[in-house]
């Protein structure tokens, strides 16, 4: 029986080897072809547009975060911040994110407590510079 098995497997091995040889000998033409120039440039443009859009999105997101943080620092609630961000155009956002000083409130007056603190601070510095002291008896 052993010789029958050996002969049988030899035949199978030969058939398989020939089959692999035949399949391997066939050129795989469908795997490689020249890409037309117009298709390449079209793809580049699309990629470039996508990239520009992505950059704009990233920029707007970052600028929104900067402006949102500034408005939040001023004391506005989340809803108030969102409402303002939604009303701004991309150009507005870019301006405010680039010029955070322009996001201070304009009221034209020094707030009372702030003014008193500043005056107090400046007076103390002035007294220190002139080596004078205030002694309360």
């Amino acid at each position: 029986m052993n010789w029958v098995k050996s002969w049988y497997f030899k035949q199978i091995a030969i058939v398989l080897a020939l089959a692999v040889l035949c399949i391997g000998a066939v050129p795989a033409r469908s795997l490689a072809y020249m890409v037309g120039a117009e298709l390449v440039s079209g793809t580049d443009t699309e990629i470039s547009n996508d990239r520009a859009q992505d950059l704009e999105t990233v920029q707007r997101t970052l600028e929104s975060k900067i402006v949102a943080k500034r408005l939040s620092d001023l004391g506005l609630s989340t809803d108030e911040v969102t409402e303002r961000l939604e009303s701004l155009t991309d150009a507005d956002l870019h301006h405010f994110a680039s010029q955070l000083e322009s996001l201070n409130p304009g009221g034209g007056l020094v707030s009372g407590i702030g003014a008193i603190l500043i005056i107090l601070l400046l007076v103390l510095v002035a007294l220190k510079m002139t080596d004078r002291k205030i002694i309360i008896k």
């Binding site: 150009a91 000083e101 409130p105 009221g107 707030s111 002035a126």
Partner: protein
Amino acid sequence: MPLKRAVLALLFVSLAGLFSGCAPVGSVGVVESIRATPESGAYIEGVPFFPDRSQMCGPAVLASVVRFLGGTGGATDARLFEDISRAVYREKLKGALLPDMLAYARAAGFNAEVYVGSFEDLKQRLKSGRPLILFINLGLDIYPVGHYIVVTGYSDAEQAVVAHSGLDRDRVYGYTELESAWRKTGYSTLLVTGGPLSDSVDR
């Protein structure tokens, strides 16, 4: 000792600068100078003046420009000022924010944009009859005191601009003074255009 005197002088100047922002200065001479020598400047006649009650400089300047452009229909000045105040003044901030000023102007049907201004741009706008709202800082960099003015004219001969500011109609700001205060807000400028009288503005 000279160093101490210099520091004291600096402190005094800082204090003076901090609280002199709304001090009235005579404007008649500058306006007359512009009228006498129009080639050295420009002055826009008839920009309505809304006196700024405390902390209301934002609504006041916006009302000036909106009314100048013929907006808001038949509302009285008082009603207009009240409407704008309600829309842009924030009690907890003790003032108005530029984004709210922009939003109000656009909602009222005007074109509005905020941008980094310059003296050249300011002069060109004034020459074409467009008053500009400037956001300036009358305080210090470390302690900003935001203030809105609406500029109505300039004179190169006098090296000054005139603007409705606070309680002063046509207050005079020297170029140096304005530059110092305007620089601290990144030269923030609000331009409002459009409205019923917009076409008659350019001249």
